[in-house]
């Protein structure tokens, strides 16, 4: 479904990614873990071309989307993304946050977009918050609106960038529940996360990233319970406490 080959990225003198590969087949969930500054977020942004890699290629359903002939907007509208800090449009209601992409990117008519947006918000359990503005919602609710906003575009792949890191502990589970349900329904997902419970339960593959390189990769049981590399061991024992 989505494949990245040998992605390199530097910002000025700072080398962030030193050759990252990733392949996620349809319906799979791939988790990326690693210390802060390891390049997880940058790599995720390379997948939907929010960050253009210096070298290396990204393929979406076999199409080389890093090719200069391809418009980044066309790629991004097929890939949903959920951010650590929600990034809802604060001047729009929950409903309008979801319909914006439908009407302005997919050119749906208003009525159809409303219907679709309502359905997506109901799916994440927010059918009663359509008219609420982001500032009137809890962090967990905001993040679920953000998930609905991304899902409404019928993406082929969903990217999650530490979706629960900014949440109060009491709201984390409601977001993880929605994500687990998505995974069950067969959504292809790439998730940067520190939620080991979630990764263990849902992920098909876990990649440990450090200093812009892949240190170790494998099924969650291997990475969390029997890591081979010393760095992975140290990191896993730290986050599992």
């Amino acid at each position: 479904m989505i494949r990245a080959e040998n992605i390199h990225k530097s910002f000025g003198d700072l080398v962030v990614l030193r050759g990252i590969d990733l392949e996620v087949t349809k319906g799979e969930v791939s988790c990326i873990i690693g210390p802060s500054g390891s390049g997880k977020s940058t790599f995720l942004r390379c997948l939907n071309l929010l960050v253009i890699p210096d070298s290396g290629d990204v393929y979406l359903e076999g199409v080389r989307v890093t090719s200069p002939e391809i418009r980044p907007e066309w790629v991004r509208q097929q890939i949903g993304m959920v951010f650590q800090s929600f990034n809802l449009f604060t001047h729009l209601t929950a409903l309008r946050n979801v319909t914006l992409g439908l009407t302005k990117v997919l050119k749906m008519d208003a009525e159809q977009a409303d219907k679709k947006a309502k359905w997506e918000l109901e799916r994440v359990g927010l059918g009663d918050k359509l008219a609420a503005y982001p500032a009137q919602l809890s962090g967990g609710q905001q993040q679920r609106v953000a998930i609905a906003r991304a899902l409404a575009m019928d993406p082929k792949v969903m990217l999650f960038d530490e979706p629960t890191s900014a949440l109060d502990p009491e709201f984390i589970h409601e977001v993880l529940d929605v994500m687990a349900k998505l995974a069950d329904e067969g959504m292809t997902m790439v998730v940067v996360t520190h939620e080991m419970g979630f990764a263990k339960k849902v992920a098909d593959e876990v990649t440990f990233l450090d200093q812009g390189r892949i240190v170790e990769r494998g099924p969650p049981s291997d990475i969390f319970d029997h890591p081979i590399q010393e760095r992975t061991k140290a990191f896993v024992s730290r986050i599992l406490g």
């Binding site: 929010l50 990034n87 604060t90």
Partner: protein
């Protein structure tokens, strides 16, 4: 609320004392005050026309140039920066006089019109609008910078183009932040239209000057009546515009986003 009462009472007492003083000085002349009303009407409508030109043009320039200044294109940023520095760094009076002379010179040499007053006034008005636009550029730029980068990233991530992101995500929020400062700039530029009297634009202050010339030979004190009425008209115009801006500000408040109250 308390502030409003204090300001209201203070203003009323001030106005009352001023009138008492005018009465003492023997400058009350209701018949004269009425006799200049038609002339003032003409001046007021002139000022209204100028305001109706200067505010929209300045606002449009502000929007366009602020977008340019925050663009990722180097050229656009350079154009916006040059515009602001040029029009902000000269007194509006100088800009007005210079541009009207320039317009006169050009029109004369091309169309052989001896005294193209209308063109001179149009050029001066445009110069004032551009001057105000340079301030509005910076006001809007501050508004644009207040929009969290994450929201722009989110807009791009769902496939919105740069232009759509600007219009649907950035500007609506930037505008809300900029409104109080924009109201300030509007009220300031309304009064700056009086500078256009220097190039013979038929507006309130120009009419004021004409009336004063006529009144001087009758009674020096009549000047007070003229300028009191003119001041009042400027006040009313400014007040109305400021209230309109306030109204828009209140209407566009986002529920749940409350400002801190000290």
């Amino acid at each position: 609320m308390l502030a409003r009462i204090i300001a209201g009472t203070g203003g009323s007492i001030g106005a009352f004392l001023f009138l008492v003083w005018l009465g003492r000085a023997g400058v009350y002349s209701l018949s004269y005050a009425e006799s200049i009303v038609p002339a003032l009407e003409r001046g007021f409508s002139g000022t209204l026309w100028l305001v109706a030109a200067v505010i929209p043009i300045g606002f449009t320039m502000g929007l366009v140039m602020a977008s340019a200044r925050t663009s990722n294109s180097r050229i656009a940023r350079a154009v916006g920066g040059t515009y602001v520095e040029f029009f902000r760094s000269m007194p509006p009076f100088t800009l007005i006089v210079f541009s009207s002379i320039l317009a006169t010179k050009i029109i004369r040499s091309i169309f052989f019109i001896d005294n193209p007053v209308a063109f001179a006034v149009a050029a001066g008005t445009l110069a004032l609008a551009f001057h105000s636009g340079s301030y509005q550029t910076e006001i809007m730029r501050a508004g644009i910078l207040s929009v969290p980068a994450g929201q722009i990233e989110a807009a791009y991530a769902m496939g919105l183009s740069r232009l759509r992101t600007l219009f649907d995500v950035v500007l609506p929020q930037a505008f809300r932040v900029a409104l109080p400062a924009l109201g300030n700039e509007f009220s300031s530029v309304i009064k700056d239209t009086s500078l256009l009297s220097a190039i013979s634009a038929i507006e309130l202050s120009f009419i004021g000057g004409v009336l004063v010339n006529g009144a001087l030979s009758i009674d020096f004190n009549l000047i007070f009546i003229i300028w009191t009425e003119i001041a009042l008209l400027y006040f009313v115009l400014t007040y109305v515009v400021v209230r309109i801006v306030r109204f828009v500000e209140n209407r566009s408040k986002v529920p749940g986003l409350q400002a801190a109250q000290l």
